[in-house]
Symmetry: C2
Subunit: 256 residues, 2 copies
């Protein structure tokens, strides 16, 4: 698969030799399959067909996203409405991984996340919090909400901050939007700490997807629009990484 | 002057020898003279008397603040209502310094500041902005406002970000509040740039106060509650720096 003129194009020839060992593909979603925005957003031309053809191939396929504005179920339902043949079990977002970490380390979170994500944490004990989790809260990143998260952290003897991703910004249909990473940096600076990132580009996160496919890292290819979190993160784990020129990709000299 | 039990106490004896060369004192304001909060906030016990006695002494006295929630005039009026004998010409906040920089470099700002500060920029051309200025906007640091500042910056060929101070947090009567520095870090990360700080601890800023007093740095003492921006900044310029234990100072093992 390669990209031409901002669209997905299936390549029938010209694949490099390394493609012969390829057994699985991991796709980023926002900016690769669709652009988020008003309503469900819009599918990127060629991407529905690309997913269909990958599913018909011998390659395993998974979807790896830092989406944290909705539960996995609601998020997948949106993709299905846009026309994608995707099921929830194929999709790996940060929230379920975060819940596993909380359980493993007996942590009770203060949440600064989008209202749409809250149901994922319904079964989680949030009383007397001993850590903070931030996601892509977007308009919920008010001064008051960020200050509240700060006060929880600065009041802890051993402050623990989890960030569901570390992206700088993403593209919606009406322009660029600040992502969770900038608020992670804000709280890191305020509290003199280093956040633990759950989601891309965390090696643990990529490894959980590889485990689910039963593949070694060199057998998998990651395709995304974020050079650092998709391509770099994947390469850091030993996977191949490919950047598409859709989504947040900015053509040279382009101003958004 | 030294601090005891969280209050200002004038010291009549026991000053170190270096005090003999002292010709001027620069006082931080919030956390040293008063705690901000509901209404005008509250004067810190002993501070009104300390300012009075300093004025009666042979020492020159200036006030150096990173306050950016109000114009200098309104800010000084508040201090006067609290009982301080302070006039506007003795007070050095970042906004007038920023306006001088804009003029010097022919820059037109996009402002992300507190509504109370806007009148300071009344005479400044803000059309077709080619830089961004952020101040302690507090509740005006909404997601939408921060995103708007981000879009201006990322759309500039040579993005320039001025931050009116770089504080992490300050203390108000109802608790700790995030300061402009955390939003500076957020935009620095989002746009891959380094902000220019106007205000403490910028050496240029301290130098302008020394110039106004007609003193060399070794002849002046800075007193503040912020170890980095008051004490460290002053020492970096060759001044003496003293930290009070009021304001944001946190006693060992104290949780706010």
């Amino acid at each position: 698969m390669r990209m031409r003129s901002g669209h997905f194009v299936m390549a029938d020839e010209g694949w490099p030799g390394c493609a012969k060992s390829l057994k699985g593909v991991i796709l980023d979603m926002c900016g690769v399959l669709y652009d988020s925005g008003e309503g469900d957003g819009v599918a990127i031309p060629g991407s529905i067909e690309a997913v269909r053809r990958l599913k018909e191939s011998d390659l395993q396929l998974r979807f790896c996203t830092n989406e944290t504005q909705a539960t996995r179920e609601k998020f997948v339902a949106k993709l299905q409405r846009l026309g994608f043949d995707i099921s929830a079990s194929e999709v790996f977002p940060p929230a379920p991984a975060a819940i596993a970490v909380l359980k493993d380390r007996s942590l009770r979170p203060h949440l600064l996340v989008h209202d749409g994500l809250l149901p994922e944490f319904d079964g989680v004990d949030k009383t007397n919090p001993n850590c903070v989790i931030i996601g892509d809260a977007a308009e919920y990143f008010s001064y008051q909400n960020l200050n509240e998260a700060f006060r929880v952290l600065i009041g802890l003897e051993k402050p623990v901050l989890f960030s569901l991703g570390q992206g700088k910004y993403y593209k919606e249909t009406d322009g660029l939007k600040l992502d969770v990473g900038v608020y992670m940096k804000a709280l890191e600076y305020a509290c003199d700490l280093k956040a633990e990132v759950i989601g891309k580009p965390s090696p643990t996160f990529f490894q959980s997807v590889l485990n689910d496919m039963g593949l070694q890292s060199h057998e998998a290819l990651m395709i995304g629009d974020d050079l650092l979190n998709d391509v770099g993160g994947a390469q850091h784990c030993g996977m191949k990484g490919v950047q598409v020129r859709t989504g947040k990709y900015r053509w040279p000299k382009e101003t958004p």
